[in-house]
Amino acid sequence: MEDDYYSIDSILAENQKIQCTFKVDIPDMGHLDGGHERDIKAQSKVQLPLWLAFIIIYSDYADFTIPPPFSLRVRKALNAEAKSVKLSALVGAGGLWYGFGKIIMRLLDDAPASEMSELLTKTFQSRLVEVIDQAQHFAALGPAGGGGQSGDAALMFREGLEVTERELFLLAQESAKKIKQWYGSTDRLRR
């Protein structure tokens, strides 16, 4: 999520591809599109990884379209019930939906960027409570439990957790476990 130069997450998030439409001819760069043509023609559509798209879009060589993980359909689904959307399925395994969204937000201008920010923030907030609830539930079960008998919806939700959310899940679980352990440690072995 961070902008840190050394953040692996940030690098992975930038590996997502977005579709760009070139506005100008660019000679000798056809290999970016898979390598059949020698040049990139104006109006041609190319899937570019974000780290490359960044500079091309900023230099005004190309426009981009909002990628599918943030399409209208997904937005509507998120608005309806954020908890039932599988974010991990949108960006692939190990994908960072929030990180991806953040970069897209950066590429956009005022109004759409605010809209994107709102979408991301709202989604995060509405899913957060469920993430923490489930984490605490699993911490309470202890290592022996953890079976999938806690309802299909919960299981679906867990499968749909995005990497950032997974991290939070682990943090919450760890901390709940520690507290539980401390409360349980009644027998003092002090002389």
Binding site: T121, K178, I179, Q181
Partner: protein
Amino acid sequence: MALPVSLRNSVTPPELELIASEELVEIIPLISMERTAFISGAYGPLRPPNKAKIPLWMAINLKMKKKCHIVPPNWLSVDFLQDRLALETSRQEFSQFPFRFTEIAKLLLDVAPDDIQNSERIRSLLKDIREVRQAKSREGLQKIDHSELSLPNLCSMEINEIRPFFVRAMGVLTQLTRDPVADSQFDV
């Protein structure tokens, strides 16, 4: 960093317990002792049957050797806790407790249950209070945003429990919030 991952996010409960054991409690000593200097200060003299105020760790130590009775603090009583539980369930906000009450209560209940009246009842009251308060901090989670979250009267153990993921969640939200200032810097 050389610190194990599990210790990086926050302080552990046993560490908090250690910090809490610096707090003073009243005891009725069964031995006499002159005023003695410790690193944290001078305590004593102990003159049975006069009460004395000493740090919790020392009280626990003496108690284990059956050399004192611990006088539980006034908030560690059925009446007080029952009142607080009623307050806690009837009101939205957290009610006020001594900052380290969880740790102190646990230590005293573990070491000196015989000095506390109705210790079993107190245990269950504390558990109820903890659950009510946990439900409230969960509510607080819904209101979390990138800049601040105000949960007054939260106690050290509770803060510690929610710290790792609250901090992380707020960090994420900071990233997701569109900050015009940061963006213009970015454009340059």
